[in-house]
Each structure stands twice: as structure tokens, then as C-alpha cells.
Symmetry: C2
Subunit: 254 residues, 2 copies
DNA sequence: CGAACTATTGAACTAGGTCAAACCCAGTGG
DNA sequence: CCACTGGGTTTGACCTAGTTCAATAGTTCG
């Protein structure tokens, strides 16, 4: 209904030109300290659904689904970036996370989505019927277990984020964000982080204002901790002094 | 091991005198806007484990388990209050939530707990082997589905909390907290909220300082929005003007 | 080239934090 | 029964991290 009208449906053969590094499962927003997430088997398990899957292309800044929508589908990102948003009535916004290629969107829903999913840039994704996933889980305890694990991983990330939002300073937040993005980037992200999202998105993700994000970035640049430039899809940050950045991020325990 | 040494183990017949309002499942930290959580069936499902369950009494301010501990058990609170804590190396702390009678603790773990559970007051709980729960879930898709639903509920609450921590003002946070506690209180909590936790706990839950919590409470009292007093277990707040409080809390959408 | 964005920088302001003192009990011991 | 002690709570005075407002500088697109 609502959703399909915004998509360019390519049918199940419309594979995009970009081939993301990994199409295996990896829980969204998982931080570095989390034990390595399961991959291989689930990819296999989900393969059982590929017959019913549809591939979609969505352009920049479109809505995939809205908070409150009946959760009919979930998605896997083939290429691109998605932001998960929680909106307040008065316009204040929080970006609960960014999802990258290979990650899953909208799997953590009950009856209805509780977050809005929007594309940060032109994005390609595979769509699965949630009902089919649920059915698969009912049939196969292994899949069910993986789903639970996935949820647990997201919950863990969410807890981490609460500490970040509730107790960390602005620079700690930004440092943490840069390191997280670097860790999540496709292999070989040796100090290079591409930030496809704008300053406002980052700000809304970190509970800051765009101005503060800017200022902190300039500050880090002046201190020689990072370098900035522009990549094909969005700004690029080069981490020049990982030690300094890590010191700033100063993780809770570990 | 670590855990059992701090407990007064009553064995499985050592039922406590207090009989909490509901022993059914209810996802922890679920906010009012969330659709009513499933109850009856899960209580039945878990009953299958009651043979292996142990009832424990833990006094005030003890640790039930620590972040990083191998997650051998999970618990259901019979009576009392538990706080879930995330600690930073430098002492900064975040309380991700408070768990009340009837709610479950430590079910959302992967291999290890990612939160520390501490008693806010003298608390009685039932302990289940996680492995048994997992096994039950593997055997029974219904249980598995409930577990997923439970996790989704917590995730939802976590997202709500991120908005709260990242975008809401101090007074909005406090108002929201009071209303949430009132909604979660055992039936008939007509405007009366018992707060068994100290100001510091509330502050760490809301990303504020104890001083700010205090000031805001006094402020609300002076405005005639609430009244304060002391109950048997902890401070008590009476909500005199629910409208004003709700206006302050001003929920996102809805 | 100009419109419309987004990013950057500056200056002034404030919500909350910090520090420190006063209060208010619940125990406890004389 | 009452003073004493030790913990949390309140209150006050002051301060700063981060916001707000506003102006400038790139960028993208038509």
C-alpha cells in the first residue's frame, strides 16, 4: 500500500550493480565490544525465503516505513544506508541508528513498526514477508534462536546507547560514533570512514545539535586527530590518530 | 557460584509472605503506549519450569548478577524492586530500568549478561535455569514467539528511552518517569506512586544529577502538581494534577 | 549564474551541573 | 528517653558545556 508506491520495484532479478561486501546477517548497531555475531547459518536459513523475496531500489531521503505502520515486511540492505528514526510531535527527532549494507531492517517489530525507516542515500534492499520469517522461525528452532540472538544483540547496543546519551560528553559521543562507523565499515576500512549521512542526522543520533557536531569535528581536525575530505557518497573522515580518538571515546569497562 | 553466596536460599517451598498483584509475564520497562503485553499463556508455559525453580530472598542493595557474568539463570520478581545498571570505568552509571514485582530479569542475555542487576530494596525472586528456558523455547514455537515478543517489547522501550535521554528536557524526563511508575504500579495506583529507589538511582535512570531531580520535585510540589510523603518502602509521590504532569511529559506522537 | 541546501564559524545565553552547606530522619548507644 | 552519628535529601550560589541565533561559506542542481 503506502510503501510500495515509493519504490522502484525491480522484481527478484533486478540485482543492483553494487555488490556489498557481505550479505550475511549481522545484527544492526552492534558495537565492537559485542562478541562476533553469527553469520553463515542464518544466511542459509533465510535463503529458504529468497524465492518470495523482492529487490527494491529506493532513492535518497525516502521513507521505507513509518512508525505505527503495520509491519508486513522486513528488509535486508544490499547497498546503501538507512536511518531509523523516532519522531516527536513537536519536531524533535532521534535517530536510533544507521543500518549499512548487509544489515536487516524492521525485523524487530511486534505487530507494528515502532521506528520509521528512511534512506540516507540511494539504497537497494531485499524485501521479505515478515509472516514468512515468523513461519520459518516456528518451523525451525535454530532460526528462532538466531532471531532471539539478534534481538538480544540490538538490545545490548541499545543499552550502550543509553549510557552514551545519558552520561557521555559531546566529544566522547562523537569519538565513539566515528570509531563505531569505522569498525562497521566493509573490511579494509583502515582509518577511512565514509559518512553518507548529514551533520543533522549525526546530531540527532548523538543527542546533540548539528553545530556542536561541526565544532567538534573542526576541533578534532585542528588537533590532528582526524582529517576530512569528500568521498563519492558523502563526507569522508580519515582517522589519523586512532589512539587519541579511542582515548576520547573511553569505553565503559572493557 | 558468585551469585548463590549472597542469597538466602529458601528452597522451592520458601514462599514469601508478600503476594504480588500479578505473577504473569509482563515485559520490563514497557511504556504505557505499548499494546498490552501477553500474559496468561506464558505464565502457563513457564509453569512447566516451576519444578526446577528456586525461590530466593535478597536484601537491599545487593548484586544479583554482574555485567559480563555468564548468564546461567534468569529470574522472576515475586516482590521487591531491582535496578538494571550499566557502569562505566570512571564511575559514571546508567540505570537502564527498574523491574517490579511480576517482571522478568536477565532473560534478554546472550551468552553473558550485559547489565548488572541490583536490588533496590529487599526482594524475593524465583530463579530459572536459562538453559531450561531455551530448551523449552526450542521445543515449543509458542514460547519462542513469546520470547521474541518480549524482546521486541524491551527494544521498543529502549527506543523510547533514547528519545528521552537524547532529546527531552529534565522536567519532561521526570514527568515521564512519574507517569510511567504510576502506570506500572499494581492496580489501583490512583495517583499514588511509591518510589523505592533513591534520588541518585532516579537521576542515573534519567541522565540527570540527584540535585536536579530534587529541585524539579520541589518545583512540582510548589506548583501543586504533586505531593510528597513517605510510604512503608520508600518515598511516595501523589499526583495531584495528572493533566499538568502529562502536559510536561508531552509524549512523542500519539 | 542563481536558488536552495548544508556546513562552518562566531557571539551570547541558559539548562543543568558542580560544590558546599544545611536538613532530616532512622538507628544506636548511653 | 535523648543525644549522637551517618546516610540520604534539600537548598543555595556559581559555573560551564552545549544550545540558540545569526551570519558566512561551500556545494549541488537547474
Amino acid at each position: 500500500m503506502y510503501v510500495s508506491s515509493q519504490f522502484t520495484d525491480q522484481g527478484q532479478n533486478g540485482r543492483p550493480g553494487t555488490s556489498p561486501a557481505t550479505l550475511g546477517w549481522s545484527p544492526a548497531g552492534l558495537s565492537r565490544s559485542t562478541p562476533p555475531a553469527p553469520r553463515r547459518d542464518e544466511a542459509l536459513a533465510l535463503a529458504a525465503l529468497d524465492g518470495a523475496a523482492t529487490t527494491l531500489c529506493v532513492e535518497k531521503d525516502r521513507t521505507i516505513f513509518v512508525e505505527g505502520d503495520r509491519a508486513e515486511f522486513c528488509y535486508r540492505i544490499l547497498g546503501g544506508t538507512v536511518r531509523m528514526v523516532k519522531q516527536m510531535a513537536d519536531g524533535r527527532r532521534h535517530v536510533t541508528g544507521f543500518l549499512l549494507a548487509g544489515e536487516l531492517v524492521g525485523l524487530d517489530a511486534m505487530d507494528r513498526h515502532d521506528l520509521t525507516a528512511e534512506t540516507v542515500m540511494s539504497t537497494t534492499l531485499t524485501r521479505y514477508k515478515r509472516a514468512a520469517v515468523e513461519a520459518l522461525a516456528d518451523r525451525d528452532p535454530i532460526v528462532a534462536r538466531r532471531l532471539r540472538l539478534l534481538a538480544a544483540g540490538e538490545l545490548r547496543a541499545a543499552h550502550e546507547r543509553m549510557v552514551l546519551l545519558g552520561r557521555r560528553t559531546a566529544s566522547e559521543r562523537l569519538a565513539h560514533f566515528l570509531l563505531e562507523m569505522e569498525a562497521r565499515a566493509p573490511r579494509g576500512g583502515c582509518g577511512r570512514v565514509v559518512l553518507p549521512m548529514g551533520r543533522a542526522d549525526i546530531a540527532d543520533h548523538l543527542g546533540l545539535t548539528p553545530e556542536t557536531v561541526c565544532r567538534l569535528l573542526t576541533c578534532l581536525r585542528h588537533e590532528g586527530t582526524i582529517g576530512t575530505g569528500r568521498a563519492v557518497d558523502g563526507a569522508e573522515v580519515t582517522i589519523l590518530d586512532p589512539r587519541a580518538l579511542a582515548a576520547l571515546a573511553s569505553d565503559p569497562r572493557h
